[in-house]
Amino acid sequence: MATRQTASLARLMRAPAIILLLIWMLIPLGMTLYYSFLNYNLLNPANTSWAGWFNYQYFYTDPAFFEAIWNTIVLVMGVLLITVCGGIAIAMLIDKPIFGQGIVRILVISPFFVMPPVAALIWKNMIMHPSYGVFADIAKFFGASPVDWFATYPLLSIIIIVAWQWLPFATLILLTSLQSLDGEQMEAAEMDGAPAISRFIYLTLPHMARAITVVVLIQTIFLLGIYAEILVTTNGGPGYASTNLTFLIYRAARLNFDIGGAAAGGIIAVILANFVAIFLMRAVGKNLD
Amino acid sequence: MGRITLEGVAKRFGDVEVIPPLNLDIEDGEFVVFVGPSGCGKSTLLRLIAGLEDVSDGRILIDGKDATDESPAKRGLAMVFQSYALYPHMSVRKNIAFPMKMAKVPLDEQNRRIDAAAKALNLTDYLERRPGQLSGGQRQRVAIGRAIVREPSAFLFDEPLSNLDAALRVGMRLEISELHNRLETTMIYVTHDQVEAMTMADKIVVLHAGRIEQVGSPLELYLRPKNAFVAGFIGSPKMNLFSGETAAEYGAATIGVRPEHIGVSTEGGKWKGRVGVSEHLGSDTFLYVEDTGLAETITVRSDGEVRLRHGDTVWLTPNEDKIHKFDQGGDRID
C-alpha cells in the first residue's frame, strides 16, 4: 500500500526528465532524417523538393566526403594513441612517491579545463606560429628553419592540440584506476620474483584494462565531434586536408546553406557514432548491477 | 508490553516463496533469537515484524492488536541495523534525539532521556561527535541508544554484532544481555551465529529455508534437537552425524553424537581411528579423528590435559545415552 504510493510518486518524479530527453532526441533527429530527403537550400528556400536518396548519393560520391571520413579516423586514432600511451606513462609517474604530488596533479590536469577555442588559439599563436611561436624559437635556437605547422601538417597539428586537451582526462582516469591496484598483490609478485616489466604487463595493464576501455570509448564520442579546434586554426584547410565529418557537415549547413546535404551527413554521423556507442553502453551497463 | 504474535505469516517475492506461512508467539519480555544459515529468511522475518516489508499473507499482532497494515513507525518497535544505519550528518546527540524529535517529545524530556541513555551506554563524552569519528563498538552503542530512547514495546536487532571484531563482540553480547535484564523489554535478535543464540536467548527460533525448524530454549535445542538440521546447527563444535550401517545398528537412518559425548582411549573401545589434528585450548582438547571408516573425520572434545598427537591411534566410544537418532526424513526418533 505504502509501496504502491511511492511507485506512482516515483513515476511522476521521473517523467519530466524522460519526456524532455525524448523530445530532445526524437524531434530534431526526425527532422534531420526528413530534411535529408529534401532538396532544400536556405539561399533558395522556394525551390524545395523531394530528393529521395540524392543527398546521400551526393555525399557519397563527393571526394571530400571520403577525405573527411579518413581525417576523422586519423584524428580519433591519433589522439587516442597519444593520450592512452601518454596517459599510462604519466599516471604511473605521478603514482610514484614524489614530492609535491598534489601540485603535479593540478598542473597535469589543467589543459582539460581550457575551452577548445582558447586551447586552439594558444597553440596556433603562442606555440606553433611560424614566426612568433615557441616551436619556431626552438628551431631558430638550433639553427633550423621554423616549420609552418598548420600549412605543412594541418591534421597533425590539430591532433597535437586535441591530444594536449585530452591527455589530462586519460591520465586522471588511469591514475584513479592505478591507485585502486592492490599493493599487496604487487608485493606478492615482487616476492615471486617477477621483474618490473612483467609486473606491468601481467598485473598493472590487466587491472587498468577496464579504465583504458572507458577512456577510449568516451574520448571517441567526444573526438568524433571535434569542431572548434578546426574552426579556429585551419578552418578545415588547406583544401579539405583537416576537415573531419563534423566540420564537413557544418560547412554544408552554414557556409553552403545546403540543408538537405548537411542533414544527410548528420544521419551518417549518427550511424558512425552508434557503432562506438554500443560498445560504450556495454562497458558502462556492466557496472550498473 | 511487547507481545508479538505471527498468524500464518508468509512472504513471497514475485513467484519465490521466501517464507511459507508460519505461526509464532513471542511473549512479553522474552529475548528471542532467530538463528539459521544465511539466506534462511531470518532477516526477512524480522523486517516483516518491523513493517519494512509488507506480508504477502497472514496477520501480525502486537499486544493483541492487528498491526499488519500499520506503518513501521506506528508499531512501537525499535530496530538496530547491521550497518547501524546512523545518520552520518548528525551528531551522536542528534542521532539519538531523532526518533523523539519525530514523535514531538518535549525538549527537556528529550534531553533527560538522551543523558540517561548516554550514561548507560558510556557515550556521555561522545555526544557532540559525528558517527564517522566513532569506533565500531561506539557506533553500535549509539544505534542502541537511538532505540532505547523511544521506549519501544520491543527491540529488533538485525545481526548487530557481525561488523565487530571478535573481542568486542563478546563484550557487546554481554552488554545487550544486561540491557535486556535491566529493561525487561521484548527483544528479537537475528543472527547466524549459534553461539550468540545459545548465550543470549530465552527462546531460540531455528530457521531453515524460510521454515521454522524448532522453537525452544537453548538447552531444549541442545538436548533434544527435533531433527538432524537443528542437531547439526546447534552446538559447537558441530555434532558428528553418521548414516549407513552405523546408524542402522541403532535402528535409525542417521545418528548423531556430540563431540563432548565421545570417550577417547588409547587401549580399546568401539571405533578405531587415528588422530589427525589436535587443538589444545587449555581447558579442552579438540581431536579430529580420521580413518575410522565411519565418516571423514570425527570431532571429539576431550579434557585439556590429554596428550595425544598427530598420528596416534585411538579408540572412540560414544556415550550410548546421548546418541540422537533420526529417521529417513531427518526427524527425531525417541
Partner: protein
C-alpha cells in the same frame, strides 16, 4: 643503504614528474606570462619574464567589452546547470530509491542520447532557433546546454544517491519519520555534497562548450567560447591581447576544475571508474 637508494629514486621520480607536468602546463603558463607583456615584448622572441604590464587586460575590456561575454558565460553555464538539476534531482532520486525493472533500461537510454553527435541535429536546431527567435539569446543556449548535459547530470546524481544506504532510510522510517521528514532531515543533507559536485562539473562542461555556443550566437548572447573563437583571424596578431582574453576566459574555470578532480572522473565516466 636501502633507504638511501629509495630517497635518491624519489628525487629522481620527482624531477621527472615535475618536468612532464611543467611541459604539459607550459602553454597555459606561457599564455599567462604573455598576457602580462606589452605587444612589443610579446613578439620579441622567447622570454619567460614579462614586464607585468596590465595594459592588454585594459585593451580587451575597452575594445571588446569583455564583460558582456563573461556575463553571458556565467548566465548560460549556471542557468543551464540549475535548470538541469531541477529536472534531474527528482528523476535520479526516484530511480535510486524506488527502482523498477525498467530503471536500468531508462538510464542506459538516457546515456544513449548523450552519444548523439551534436552536428547531426545542427540543421533542425539551427532552423528552429531561426524561426522561434531563440537565435543569439541566452535563453536558447540555456535550453540547449541543459538538454545536452541532462544525461550526465542524472547519471552523476544517480550514482551519488545510490551510495546513500537504504538501511538509513529504513532506520528513519522506524524512527517515525514521514516521507517529508525523510526527505527534509535525512536525504537532503546527505545528498547535498553529491549535488554540489554534480553542479560544479556541469558548470565546467557548460562553460567550455564550443559547438552550440558558436553556432547559435553572434554578438548579443555570445559567451566567452564564441567570443574567443572570433579572435581567430584578424585580431590574432595581437599576442598580448589574445593572451589576456584567453587568461580571463579560462582562469575561473581552471580554479573550479582544480577543486573537482575527483568528481570529474566519476561524472565523465558515468560512474564506470571511481
Amino acid at each position: 643503504m636501502a633507504r638511501a637508494i629509495s630517497r635518491n629514486s624519489k628525487i629522481g621520480w620527482t624531477v621527472a614528474a615535475w618536468l612532464v607536468a611543467l611541459i604539459i602546463f607550459f602553454p597555459i603558463l606561457y599564455t599567462i606570462i604573455t598576457s602580462l607583456k606589452t605587444e612589443q615584448e610579446a613578439i620579441a622572441g622567447f622570454d619567460l619574464i614579462p614586464s607585468f604590464s596590465f595594459s592588454s587586460y585594459e585593451t580587451v575590456q575597452n575594445q571588446n567589452n569583455y564583460f558582456r561575454p563573461f556575463m553571458n558565460s556565467v548566465v548560460i553555464a549556471v542557468g543551464s546547470t540549475l535548470l538541469a538539476l531541477i529536472v534531474a534531482i527528482p528523476a535520479a532520486w526516484a530511480m535510486a530509491f524506488s527502482p523498477t525493472k525498467r530503471t536500468k533500461d531508462i538510464l542506459m537510454w538516457m546515456l544513449s542520447t548523450k552519444m548523439m553527435p551534436a552536428v547531426a541535429v545542427l540543421v533542425p536546431i539551427y532552423l528552429i532557433f531561426l524561426r522561434t527567435g531563440l537565435m543569439d539569446t541566452r535563453t536558447g543556449l540555456v535550453i540547449i546546454l541543459m538538454l545536452m548535459n541532462l544525461p550526465i547530470v542524472i547519471w552523476m546524481l544517480y550514482t551519488y544517491f545510490r551510495e546513500i544506504p537504504g538501511e538509513i532510510l529504513e532506520a528513519a522510517r522506524m524512527d517515525g519519520a514521514t516521507l517529508r521528514d525523510e526527505i527534509l532531515y535525512i536525504l537532503t543533507p546527505m545528498a547535498v555534497p553529491g549535488i554540489a559536485s554534480t553542479m560544479l562539473l556541469n558548470i565546467i562542461l557548460a562553460w567550455n562548450e564550443a559547438f552550440w555556443t558558436i553556432q547559435l550566437t553572434t554578438t548579443n548572447a555570445a559567451p566567452l567560447s564564441a567570443f574567443i573563437a572570433s579572435f581567430s583571424s584578424p585580431q590574432g596578431l595581437f599576442w598580448a591581447k589574445l593572451s589576456a582574453a584567453s587568461t580571463m576566459a579560462i582562469a575561473p574555470i581552471l580554479i573550479l576544475g582544480w577543486f573537482s578532480q575527483k568528481q570529474l572522473v566519476r561524472g565523465l565516466t558515468f560512474g564506470a571508474v571511481k
